[in-house]
Symmetry: C2
Subunit: 279 residues, 2 copies
């Protein structure tokens, strides 16, 4: 085998490794999104079986988290990635922690859904929870799409939506306190609503975290604890930069051009990710 | 300069990098522990200034998180660590995320402490919160000690204590609901107590996460989602193993023997970590 052939061989194995990693992250994200959709559905449909399904999916989510963690360690140890490949691995390591915790919150919501199913339902059938739930499911969905397509604009849109979630959270919170004070018999139900809203707010935060990592991946800029207006201003001035490529040392030459790969569909058929939307 | 001299030079620079990293993680942990101690103190002392101090410390915590993240990226890119050094970097990357979130919860507790300071206090001056707070501060403290000394036994003790926190959480939760139903005028205060307890329970979870990463670092075994009895049984059979050293490829020869370094005090003066206990 010629040196060129060997390089090509190494390169394609490496690309396969990275592709498997990415498709596992998106599969894990798809599962978590489905858990959340089921849990929210369980509230409005008063469905007690939801908790069993969500818990089953949790086992698979945890298994995927472990697999991805191991794959990242192996790639770091054997490939010594630098620049954008290194950022990709670091982004994935952080992303899966947040995805796993979104799954945990979905499980908590499912448990409350099962409890609410056994109680008298309010007239509006928890419309406020359904609305906020839809908003947060949309955030998780768009976060995964932004991840699959390396879409900065979509990631920024998720960051902005997190503010709306926080406002909704405050509003439902205040309303629940009012109900509790007016009629103490509704205390348990109002508390359950508050816990669900709290979990949804956390899920919004986790989505926001992932979008911040994604901006780090695409732009090499750590935007945690930075105001969104400042991020938007800065990114519109410097839409795509690779500041670390020079600082961190040269690439091995066997890297996948990530932004391009993401846009043209690293996972095969276009930019469609598994489990997206359909169910 | 001889080749030996050069190797020694590289080796000592690398060791300095790892030491700086470790001392920054422990400094960050010390700050977070202090934030939590202040926040809990603020509840029993009805001290409104607490929130300002805790928020000031949060800025430093966030700054440290960013610095450590950057240092980890730089070491991964320029040193290509393998085996135990790689596990150390991965452990640190995950640990600082949990530490930062402990700081966030401490800030939430401080905000509630400021609110409680403006209200009539119950006879017991929130003794149940102080007790649970002490327990959780102890968990954070021991987590950081376990980290500094690579102490598996202490890490396992923290995992066991997380169960007590969960039980206490449930008990205070039930009691608060009873109070609310008996006297609706106490609803707001009871809710504030519930939020504090919820934050403490989260902090317990974050400590547990860090201890699980630590067991991965020392034993190369991922114990997330594994029952503590199974972990203890397994670790007592295989007290110290290095399964990944061979699998992941050979070391560069410039690694720090971590377990030994931790025990003999990687940070200089013995195994004492900065900010530990005092304040």
């Amino acid at each position: 085998m010629s040196v060129d052939g060997l390089t090509h061989h190494i390169s394609s194995r490496y690309n396969e490794d990275l592709q498997r990693l990415l498709s596992n992250v998106l599969a894990m994200g798809g599962l978590v999104e489905r858990q959340l959709t089921r849990a929210i559905g369980g509230i409005s449909e008063a469905n007690e079986e939801v908790i069993v399904r969500v818990a089953q999916e949790e086992l698979r989510v945890n298994q995927l988290e472990r697999e991805i963690d191991e794959d990242c360690s192996r790639i770091l140890a054997t490939r010594s990635p630098t620049a954008s490949d290194l950022r990709l691995i670091l982004t994935i390591l952080k992303t899966i922690t947040d995805l796993e915790r979104i799954g945990d919150e979905a499980e908590k919501i499912a448990a409350i859904a099962a409890r609410l199913a056994g109680r008298e339902r309010p007239r509006n059938r928890y419309r406020e929870l359904r609305n906020l739930g839809e908003l947060v499911i949309g955030m998780v969905h768009d976060t995964l799409d932004a991840f699959a397509r390396h879409d900065t604009a979509l990631a920024l849109a998720v960051l902005r939506r997190d503010r709306i979630v926080d406002e909704e959270y405050e509003a439902i919170h205040r309303q629940s306190i009012t109900f509790m004070m007016e009629d103490p018999r509704t205390i348990r139900r109002a508390l359950d609503i508050m816990w669900v809203v709290r979990s949804l707010e956390r899920i919004g935060d986790h989505s926001k975290n992932i979008c911040e990592y994604l901006i780090y991946l695409i732009h090499g800029r750590d935007v945690r604890h930075v105001r969104i207006e400042d991020i938007e201003r800065e990114l519109s001035v410097h839409p795509v930069r690779e500041p670390e490529a020079r600082e961190l040392g040269n690439d091995h030459g066997d890297t996948v051009p990530l932004a391009a790969a993401g846009r043209s569909g690293m996972l095969g058929a276009g930019a469609v990710r598994p489990g997206s939307g359909a169910e």
